[in-house]
């Protein structure tokens, strides 16, 4: 079995190397021979996908067959591991996840190479660049982190098992989503670099990659949020974001990718920010690679304890080479990237995009800086320092609030120039509404002047409300116009409005989702927690809830033994639910694991929903009594609802527009007016 996998990997390396070299050589000629050579390179790229897919299938089959002669399977699986997790073994360790990276990249390359007729020349450049990245990963897989390495001696009877933290349903989805995001940015990167090298005229490359970029961004968003949800639902510390270096590594390309999605619109609409967009997509790709480097190299300590090995050096060299190539072409071909228009006013959509980019990059820089500062400190002072949540919260949160303000204001500004009259007209009611939200918070007892965290929470509530109200007002305004002209009801009119310009209104829906996510986060300063030893009938009073310990029970299955606490949750004397916080002991790995239980109180208080979050922490050895830790985490469920809305908004933005409706002009104008044109 391992021999088939090894052979497939070697074959994939040969094919991708050929795809790169032949493709590269074919770019220099314009005769029929070069075209034929280019075609063989394209087909070799397609065949690479088949070879890497075969290697991936072999590894999964080996996991299902409990082939512990393969070291990777021995270290990441065991006989009693449930089937879904055996499938997840593919990305549970270093070698497997690199193979998965390579497989996804080959998959993206496969689709790209099939669609090459869109623009053969540009696709040929992009294909060569993707093949070069593919060669890099296959070199590592073949020579530094081989997933089919054989375990020394006789094959073991059973494996050491999968890390208990990874034995959770979300872990079957989270890594693929994150990787689809990381790897996916290779495609717009390849097109951008290709367009730069060949001095591709116009902005067609952006139109070609727009859907790739948005889909990739959506995958990365889902991946990041699923990671946060996994931390919340599995790690049991009551939070969802700990500013761990690997969490940071996933957030950085997301931030630059988001900046790119916005600023690229300026290039499409106005032919501006061409150098900037190139730099952004290069940075996004490099940050994706940096994330992989951080996870693998061990250069920075992280709770994501993947095996740490020498492959960090490979990544450093690759990142350095890529940076050098990108910088060279950016400087050499800068004349090709001259802006076609000028900025006419600071009060314009263009300038809001500029500041949006600035703030996104500031947050990204802060995270990058904080993540690497321990290394810098060790170099300068001789000892490491910790840069943890207090640093990131204090520095990144104010900038993020400014960003939220721009999210609210930006869509109200017109391209080129916005009159003060129009800003007033569009902004007045959302502003009044958001200030009313701030006032209500103070009325309900939040004192923003007492503590910085309350201040930030109040500001975040005001600004989120502003975003929500501006989005609603935009839909209502456009919907009313269409309803007036077409005699439809308002809802149908808003739906039609959305269909006419899916990108614009899909974007608004994404902004709405972002505002909900922020609302979910702003509940943090109001969290409550109580930790107590609980015997039968003991109570914990926390917030409006009374938790009563009903009983404890145990169970056993081939994979793990477990213990549950049975806790009744009362509110105003009424039983609202029974919760079962759990502890497991995994037999193969010999590791224990807590599994919190979460009850979102949607039925009791919909808008101000809280999570009742219970953790069974184990027994106090002195008293022998079980310890329960209870958290009340206000508003957290809105984070996950916000994510769903963000994904929905992205899907809407991906749907093609219906034909714009032409409105008859009442007097001659230079061009027919169109409803729903422009973003």
């Amino acid at each position: 079995m391992s021999q088939i996998g090894s052979f497939a990997l070697l074959l994939a390396l040969g094919l991708s190397a050929y795809s790169f070299l032949a493709g590269f050589l074919s770019l220099f000629g314009k005769d029929a021979a070069s075209a034929r050579l280019g075609e063989t390179a394209r087909r070799a790229g397609i065949a690479t996908f088949a070879a890497v897919l075969l290697a991936g299938i072999v590894l999964v089959v080996a996991a299902f067959n409990d082939d512990f002669s393969i070291a990777y399977i021995f270290h990441h699986s065991n006989r009693e591991l449930p089937a879904a997790y055996k499938f997840a073994v593919l990305w549970s360790g270093q070698e497997g996840s690199l193979l998965f990276w390579s497989l996804l990249l080959a998959g993206y390359g496969f689709v790209l190479r099939l669609r090459y007729k869109t623009d053969q020349r540009l696709f040929a450049y992009a294909s060569v660049i993707i093949a070069s990245v593919q060669v890099f990963f296959l070199l590592i897989l073949n020579f530094a982190a081989h997933p089919f390495a054989i375990e020394q001696g006789a094959p073991p009877a059973d494996g050491t098992g999968l890390n208990p933290l990874l034995q959770y349903p979300e872990m079957v989805i989270h890594p693929p989503m994150l990787y689809l995001g990381y790897v996916g940015f290779t495609v717009p990167f390849a097109f951008a670099l290709g367009a730069l090298i060949m001095k591709y005229p116009g902005e067609k490359w952006i139109q070609i990659t727009r859907r790739w970029t948005m889909v990739t961004w959506c995958f990365l968003t889902v991946g990041v949020f699923l990671g946060a949800h996994w931390a919340y639902a599995v790690l049991g510390w009551g939070g969802y974001w700990g500013w761990d270096p690997v969490e940071n590594a996933s957030l950085m390309p997301w931030l630059t990718g988001t900046a790119f999605l916005h600023s690229v619109m300026m290039q499409e609409k106005r032919g501006m920010l061409k150098v900037w967009n190139m730099a952004l997509i290069f940075a996004t790709f490099l940050l994706s690679m940096l994330g992989t480097f951080l996870t693998r190299s061990g250069v920075i300590s992280s709770v994501h304890a993947f095996a740490q090995s020498s492959i960090g050096t490979w990544f450093l060299v690759f990142i350095g080479l890529t940076l050098a190539v990108c910088s060279f072409f950016l400087v050499a071909n800068r004349s090709h990237l001259k802006s076609e228009h000028k900025l006419e006013s600071l009060a314009s959509r263009e300038s809001s995009f500029l500041f949006n980019n600035l703030l996104l990059l500031t947050v990204c820089f802060t995270i990058l800086w904080g993540t690497f500062f321990p290394i810098l400190s060790e170099f300068a002072q001789g000892h490491k320092v910790t840069v943890g949540p207090p640093f990131f919260n204090r520095v990144a949160v104010p900038v993020a609030l400014l960003l939220l303000l721009l999210t609210a204001v930006g869509p109200l500004l017109a391209w080129r120039k916005t009159s003060i009259e129009s800003v007033k007209r569009n902004f007045l009611y959302p502003a009044i509404g958001s200030i009313a939200v701030g006032g209500m918070m103070i009325l309900f007892g939040v004192r923003p002047w007492e503590d910085p965290s309350y201040f930030y929470a109040t500001m975040a509530a005001i600004l989120s409300a502003l975003v929500i109200f501006t989005v609603i007002s935009e839909f209502l305004r456009g919907g009313r116009v269409i309803a007036g002209k077409s005699q439809q009801n308002l809802f149908a009119a808003m739906l039609q409005l959305c269909r006419r310009n899916t990108r614009r209104y899909g974007g608004y829906i994404v902004h709405f989702g972002v505002a909900l996510v922020v609302i979910g986060i702003l509940g943090t300063p109001f969290n409550k927690e109580v930790e107590k030893e609980m015997g039968f009938g003991d109570k914990i009073n926390i917030g409006p809830y009374t938790l009563v310990c009903q009983s404890y029970t145990q169970d056993d299955n081939p994979n793990y033994a477990n213990e549950w606490a049975i806790i009744n949750v009362f509110r105003s004397g009424k039983l609202i639910t029974t919760m079962f916080p759990e502890r497991r002991f995994y037999k193969a790995s010999g590791q224990p694991q807590t599994l919190p239980r979460i009850y979102p109180s949607f039925r009791e208080d919909f808008f101000l929903v809280s999570d009742v979050y219970l953790v069974y922490e184990g027994k106090n050895e002195t008293t022998g009594r079980p310890i329960i830790k209870a958290h009340i985490n206000p508003l957290v469920p809105w984070i996950w609802i916000g994510l769903i809305i963000m994904v929905f908004g992205t899907i809407v933005a991906l749907v093609p527009n219906t034909a714009p409706v032409r409105v008859p002009a009442t007097s001659p104008v230079r061009a027919p007016a169109q409803v729903g044109a422009g973003d």
Partner: protein, 196 residues
């Protein structure tokens, strides 16, 4: 059979004061109620003194709790889990309870925040502090993001200015781009006719 596997935090056995071994949980239940009879002046004076003492005790308890929370969130668990001290719950952690007890003891001794943190740095090294201090080289950690923001703003302003000062691109003969009032009129017309 499996229950002994779930035993946690063996250092609790070494703790001389079991109620405090659970850190913040031990802070609960400090306040007790006493019934008073308002009879004579000395008794009233005594009651006032008791009440004052109780208030101070209560304030002290609240202050200790707040400081415990604050300081506990400014330190990392030294076990290497990468979590904030008061948030470390990882199974089998041999540090967090010990550190929580030390923190509580240090606060009870009346040490100020700096002294408490210094004690931890001496015992566990500088990585125990969750964020760089605002002194010496570490100050750069705090300054740089704002320097980057300031440089970014300067750069954006420079770009905007250079764009605004750039001459209009040349147009083909016969094409006149509307400016000023003419443009405003057209914008008004467009708005009226599309009402968007």
């Amino acid at each position: 059979m499996a229950s002994n596997k779930f035993q946690r935090r063996p250092e609790l056995q070494q703790s001389p004061e079991p109620p405090r071994s659970r850190g913040r949980a031990a802070l609960q239940g400090h306040v007790t109620r006493t019934k008073f009879r308002w009879a004579s002046a000395p008794a009233r004076l005594f009651q006032v003194l008791i009440l004052t003492a109780a208030i101070f005790l209560f304030m002290g308890a609240g202050d200790t709790d707040a400081r415990f929370k604050d300081l506990g969130h400014r330190m990392m668990c030294a076990c290497g889990c990468g979590q904030i001290l008061l948030e470390c719950n990882h199974v089998g952690c041999t540090y967090s309870d010990k550190m929580r007890n030390q923190l509580l003891a240090s606060i009870d001794r009346g040490n100020n925040d700096d002294l408490v943190l210094q004690g931890f740095v001496q015992e566990y090294g500088p990585t125990v502090i969750a964020a760089p201090t605002a002194t010496g080289f570490n100050r750069i950690a705090w300054i740089m993001p704002f320097v980057a923001l300031a440089l970014g703003i300067t750069f954006v302003i420079y770009v905007v200015r250079s764009w605004r000062n750039r001459p209009e691109p040349a147009l083909a003969d016969g094409i006149i781009i509307p400016q000023g009032r003419e443009l405003d009129d057209l914008r008004r017309q467009a708005r009226r006719e599309t009402d968007l």
